[in-house]
Amino acid sequence: MKSPQYLRSSRDALRVHGPVLVVFLVLFVPFVLPVVMLVVGALRSAAPGLGGNWTASGFRTVYSNPTTYSTLGDSLILASSVTVISISLGVFLAWAVERTNMPLRRVVTPVMVIVFATPSLFLALGWEMLANNPAGLLNKGFVAAFGTSSGPFDVNTWPGLIGVNVLKTSAIVYLLMIGPMRAMDHSLIEASRSAGASTRRTIFRIEIPLLAPAISGVAMLTFVVMLSVLDVPLLIGVPGNIFVYSTQIFNYIAATAPPAYNSASAMSMLLMVVIVVLLIIQRSLLRKRAFVTIAGKQRASSRVDLGGWRWLCLGVAVLYTLAALVLPVGQILIGSFQPVFGVYGHWTLENFRYVASTPELRHAIANTFEIGVVAGFCAALLAVAISYVQRRSTSKLRRLPEISVWMILALPGLVLSLAMVWAYLSIPGLKNLYDTVAMLIISLVVYVTPVAMRASEGAIVQISTELEDAARVSGASGVRTFVSIVMRLIAPSFVAAWLVGGFLAAGNLDVPLLMSGPNNPTLPVEVYNLYSSTANFAGAAAVLVTFVALFVCIALVGVVVWRLVLVRGVRRRSAMAPGRVVSGGRKAESRGDVLPTESRA
């Protein structure tokens, strides 16, 4: 059917397509342009902003070098082992918390949230120090306990690299799985039990297949993230001479003189292609599946009685908490009060004095705070706008903004940062932004927006269109409806997206690594420099402790906001009406979404 004639007037066209176009244009410069510039940059002979001429030498250098392929292989090994282990661990813990009578299960989610909010940098440095031979706590303890001459632990190995990544990603898997686990229709499980299946059979034949779409979605996300991760391999792998694809890209810039930007860009292309192919495969696989896990009624679930096994489950949870939180945090805390790393029994504030007296570090603290707040806010705003336009617009173009954001998922932090450098140094007007905090903020907004969308879009989908229709027929204009109804209802998810985005942006190392210098220092980059160029573990630890103190402050503010705005909003909404009318009946389309939405993340 052709579009009706009277829609052809330009005012109507503007009304239909306008919001989509506005959102798209806002996205274009920061989101799409850098990717274009990256491709252009791979074909230039000189560094960004320095002119040069067209050449394919970058591609030749990279793709004739066998290291490119061997590191790609290593990255695939890293990604698959981390994915398998962290999916097992994360799904297991989510199941134990949601579906069993494991003791202390209420404590697990807060632990996971803290691990998620703690930058990987922190975890990596903590473990670097813990398993350092001979100075780390673990080896010291082993020597003291068994009287051997040296301890057995060394983190700068493949198991160490995989292990530290697993600690972080398990928390992400857990937080993404807890929602679907909770939303699973318990009548399906009860039906299986009454059909004569044992608990174990029900778990393997009913629960896991039901969760398969969610699990496979999370697994794919983990795999993609691990394929492109830079920070942990840089801190853990490189000192042990383990190189993966991302550190190899970084080498072209950091360990080549002059930095070979075109080779780094050319090498990024293959990674992007691999990730895009993976995402496309995943989408087409998921299109065939029906989602039945999310059902209407929520009842107090009948938990599985684990008997004696519940202590084993608790043991796993406790071990995880020790490894992911208690030990690294303890080590860094202790380390920050040591005059020199490894000297126990002698405490000093010298490291903190050093942090306070170094202007660059003080700047970095202020900048990181600003980045967390501003980038988180902008990302949340974009995320909400995109999800809303995507859901409500009738324009044929409505998927455009969403697609351009999801492209970012295929862009590893380092690659994004490379693309940003090209875009900002090559385009005259944008050059002024180079070397500023604003540029870091823009880049980090781009980087965290997809995650912020995850945190907010579920709630937007849940707001019934009837609530807006009711406002329109009550006499409210489109704008008024948005302000007085929609904005109020999505405020809690907005705050959640802001918090998630802020934490991620502030703790990120990959993105600012190429862009942060003496004029716009950030804490993660400063910590990395202290650690990698001067091996100042104690100083790095002190900076991190300050960093965490800062985060706790943000978190406290967040909690206050949470209490004031969010909890009230959630209570109102969840209490609203029998029959779950919020998730608007007739018009609600079932969306083939893979990843569950976990707004508490």
């Binding site: 059917m1 009706p4 004639q5 009277y6 829609l7 007037s9 109507d12 019934s464 009837e466 609530l467 229709d469 009711a470 406002a471 329109r472 027929v473 009550s474 006499g475 409210a476 204009s477 489109g478 008024r480 007085s484 109804i485 109020r488 209802l489 909003g569 109102r572 909404r573 209490a575 609203m576 009406a577 029998p578 029959g579 009318v581 919020v582 608007g584 009946g585 007739r586």
Partner: protein
Amino acid sequence: MVSLSIKGLTKAYGGSAVISGLDLTLADGEFLTLLGPSGCGKTTTLRCIAGLERPDRGEIEAGGDVFVSATRHVYMQPERRNVGVVFQSYALWPHMTVYGNVAYPLRCRRVRRPEIMPRVTEALQLVGLESLMKRPVSALSGGQQQRVALARALVGEPQLLLFDEPLSNLDAALRASVRSEIQSVHSRLERTSVYVTHDQVEALTLSDRVAVMNAGRIEQIGSPREVYSSPRSRFVAEFLGYENIFSGEVCGREGDRLVVRPSGSAGVLLTRATGTASGTRTLVAVRASSVGLSRSPFDGPNSFSGTVRRIAYLGDQVEAVLDTTYGELCARVPTDQVASGGGTLFAGEELFGRVAPDGVVCLADEVADTAEMGSAGAA
């Protein structure tokens, strides 16, 4: 208060027509129900009237206002149409109190501040909820929520009231009470109303006229009594619960009544008066409740004998499916009536029965000459 007229309304989603060329006129103060199964286009029609959907073709006018006209390039935004809508899922804004919800339309229409309070109170009094004004809407029961939604629809004194299956989220007891609430509000205010439902009881009890919709068209429109007792087509008859539909041959007339021989049957059925309808083939519909059963033979026309195939006990009634001279026939008779004839019904029993000629409805739109009827199937 105003009349409503819809001409040639057409709407398609992705190539498949939901409404095709619908015409409808409502008189001032009339209460009309759009009745039909899900997917028949009734809700889409309502949303086109409210301005929440844009039709592809056609015109809608209410009072002096052109709501939408494809040919004249007019599309009035929903907020300017001054209609009140009661939604299926209540659609109360969870972040506002009862008062806030009901006052919202007044605020949007720039009613002066001192006027708002008395008008909200008045609207809430109409639905008997003025004491709950300060409550958050989430603290109300489903029935109360739908009453608040009704008050919100009424408070702006809309020229049209639209109901989109307002009772379908309520349980049976609440449904009856909110239904009578709607009825009493309408009898007091007499606003021109369009009510969408798939429930025939709601349609019959509330409306001045009922329009039965099928596949984007109005299949039959008339007073509840007309539609219920004289369906014109097979679709309407089936939707309104006629259990028995026979296709048959017209083999004569007796005054106003047709004599119809159901296909493959030895007996003939005398129908209710049909006026001047003519043709050689037709469909006739019989409600199970207009069939009488007995253990002794009946006299007169439309009497038959048959064997009980299966029975279902419904409490005060018994439903029996019989093999009769007319073919398979479903009958529903009062339990005690059969029992008084000596014991209960049982399968395999030989019985006699009769259908009053006034209970045999000739479906007027299905009367045709043999050639045209072609493939009209038997029940």
